[in-house]
């Protein structure tokens, strides 16, 4: 017991000593992750963004906490970060919005940045990158590559943002190949690689020769497609290409580094303001992976042309007339579905086989 106590004292003393000799950081940033930062997926993208920020601003210190459940736990973690001196908090999951709003109200001097949020406070800004345009482009590539005209999508849950992505994908595919249908399987969870593999196999058994994926990490689905000689599109992790040297089409991933650097600079020089930041492929918040060998050069040309049109606002992924997959009209000719309203997209477009709820 005595030995243990003295070791503990020594550690405390060491900590205190290092605390004294290190210069006080100019800014402490706290970030909460819903999962592991080494998930080759959603959380890793946020963590890599923070790493970029640290490289750009070495004077900033980071408190990073993984696997924080949404709800009261998230509130406690944010409060403890603030007590440890954090002046910018990034609760990096959609479900942290309500806890973040509550903590932000209690600490008006601390700044918050929340991904995907639809409510703001003077000290809580929201940011996201709009993905439908990118999914539309991925769909175009898949539409050009598929031979069976069937694409399978393994999706975690039928939530509106994911439905919008699948819809945009199908619309892009049909723009280049009117016969393409997209079949969706929901696994009901963000992380269950074995179930993702089973879902991928079920889709391939139904004749799909291209697989897409919207779960935490694309690795399993991309790998399963490659093993069975099918093509794949990735999401969240550009490195997934190495799992599909033959069948890789392309993929997209969030790249938050420059935005996080900007947030930290704004807090440092007092110019932080609350706004609704919605990035896209046109800026640096979303990155598209290079096309794989399966994509013909002609298709790459078409896709790049469309990308320019999106960038110049000359095209829109959700352009009426559009029907949903029950035949009901959702958009009249000339109407578009605003990309700021994706939270309300609770239907699947004609050509998608699947149940939106």
């Amino acid at each position: 017991m005595k030995a243990r106590a003295s070791v503990a004292t020594l550690i405390v003393a060491l900590l205190a000593w290092t605390g004294l000799v290190t210069a006080q950081p100019q800014l402490i940033v706290g970030i909460l992750h819903i999962g592991s930062i080494a998930d080759a997926g959603y959380n890793q993208a946020h963590a890599e963004g923070i790493q970029v920020m640290k490289r750009n601003l070495p004077e900033v210190e980071v408190i990073e906490v993984e696997n924080v459940p949404e709800g009261a736990d998230a509130e406690r973690v944010m409060e403890s970060m603030i007590k440890r001196g954090a002046r910018l908090v990034i609760p990096a999951s959609f479900g942290y919005l309500e806890p973040a709003l509550r903590v932000a109200q209690r600490y008006p001097d601390v700044k918050f940045a929340h991904p995907g949020g639809y409510k703001r406070l003077p000290n809580l800004t929201t940011y996201w990158a709009s993905t439908p345009e990118a999914f539309y482009l991925l769909g175009m590539a898949a539409g050009k590559v598929t031979k069976t005209n069937k694409v399978g999508y393994v999706v975690a849950l039928p939530i509106s943002f994911f439905l919008a992505n699948v819809n945009a994908f199908e619309l892009g595919a049909r723009a280049v190949n009117p016969k393409v249908e997209t079949r969706v399987v929901f696994t009901g969870t963000f992380l269950d690689p074995a179930k993702e593999a089973t879902a991928a196999n079920a889709l391939l058994d139904q004749g799909a020769d291209v697989l897409g994926v919207i779960v935490d990490s694309p690795i399993t689905v991309v790998q399963t497609a490659e093993k069975r000689g099918a093509y794949s599109v990735g999401y969240h992790y550009l490195g997934a290409q190495k799992f599909a040297p033959k069948g890789w089409i392309s993929g997209i991933a969030f790249t938050w580094g420059n935005l996080y650097t900007r947030f930290a600079r704004q807090v440092l020089d007092g110019t932080f303001k609350s706004e609704n930041i919605l990035g896209s492929l046109n800026d640096d918040l979303l990155t598209m992976a290079p096309f794989g060998p399966a994509v013909p050069a002609e298709a790459a040309g078409l896709i790049n042309a469309k990308r320019q049109e999106f960038a110049a606002s000359k095209a829109h992924p959700f352009q009426g007339p559009l029907k949903d997959n029950t035949g009901a009209e959702r958009l009249k000719a000339g109407e578009v579905f605003p990309l700021t309203d994706l939270g309300k997209m609770n239907w699947l477009v004609e050509g998608v086989v699947g149940q939106p709820r």
């Binding site: 592991s36 080494a38 690689p193 074995a194 179930k195 879902a199 690795i219 790998q223 149940q355």
Partner: protein, 305 residues
Amino acid sequence: MIAPFVRSLLAGAVVSGTPLLYATLAEVIGQRAGVVNLGLEGVMLVGAVAAFVTTVHTGSAAAGVLAAGLAGAAFNALFAWLVIDRRANQLATGLALMFAGVGLSALVGAPYIGRPITGLVEMPLPGLAGLPVLGPALFVHDALVYAAVPVAIAVRWALFSTRWGLAVRAVGENPVAAFAAGRDPRVLQYQALLLAGLLGGVAGAHLSIGIAKTWAEWMTAGRGFIAVALVIFARWQPLRAVAGALLFGGAISLGLLLQARGLAVSPFVLDMLPYVLSLAVLAASGGTGRHAAPASLGRVFRGSS
């Protein structure tokens, strides 16, 4: 139209059911010796990560399976020490072991996320693989799938046809009587739990290097607990565990397959399918027989000296 569906369903049921079967057999052995292990989920995770890490380094899936078995047994030995020697409460210790397994596997596995492996490869069985429908559904799988049912038969043989099995079951029913008959309950429980750890580790290996061919934190996603439930479903019988694992694996597979075929049913409803089906079978089979559960399950043997 129906043949490809049946083929896909059967193949999915067999693959999804395999890790569940190994895990259920693990728990059957432990519970037959009178020990409930709610930490099976953690044992599976330790096995899964050991298999993946070993396969990355050696390139050999066989080495991976071996490492998973050894790691699972070693991790379960910790549980055995706590509940047998330290006489800790089995349920609390099991839950603690689960969380320890989650954390330990996450720590070990973190640098290996995103590492490509070949893993266990499918080996079509000559002759049988050519059968219509059944061939591709049942006989184009990896070695752990083929071994699953023989292992279940072996566990049944060991528990019900050997003197060792008789002694293990006696400990589960009445450790004092077993002790009086000259068998040491503690030694038998240790042996049972080491064997259980081995099978639990192999169950994890099939997830990481067989099905998903990747490592992800907490990738067992609750299968360890499903296996504990399947033990009750199987009435502590290894061969009934085969049926239970197949049924559960089949229900998971069916829900995904029906979605892939475009059935107009909510994915949330299909997600409940395995559980609804389990409830239905439990209701139909009239629940647990009076003598099914080992009588001294969960009790601590305090010796009779």
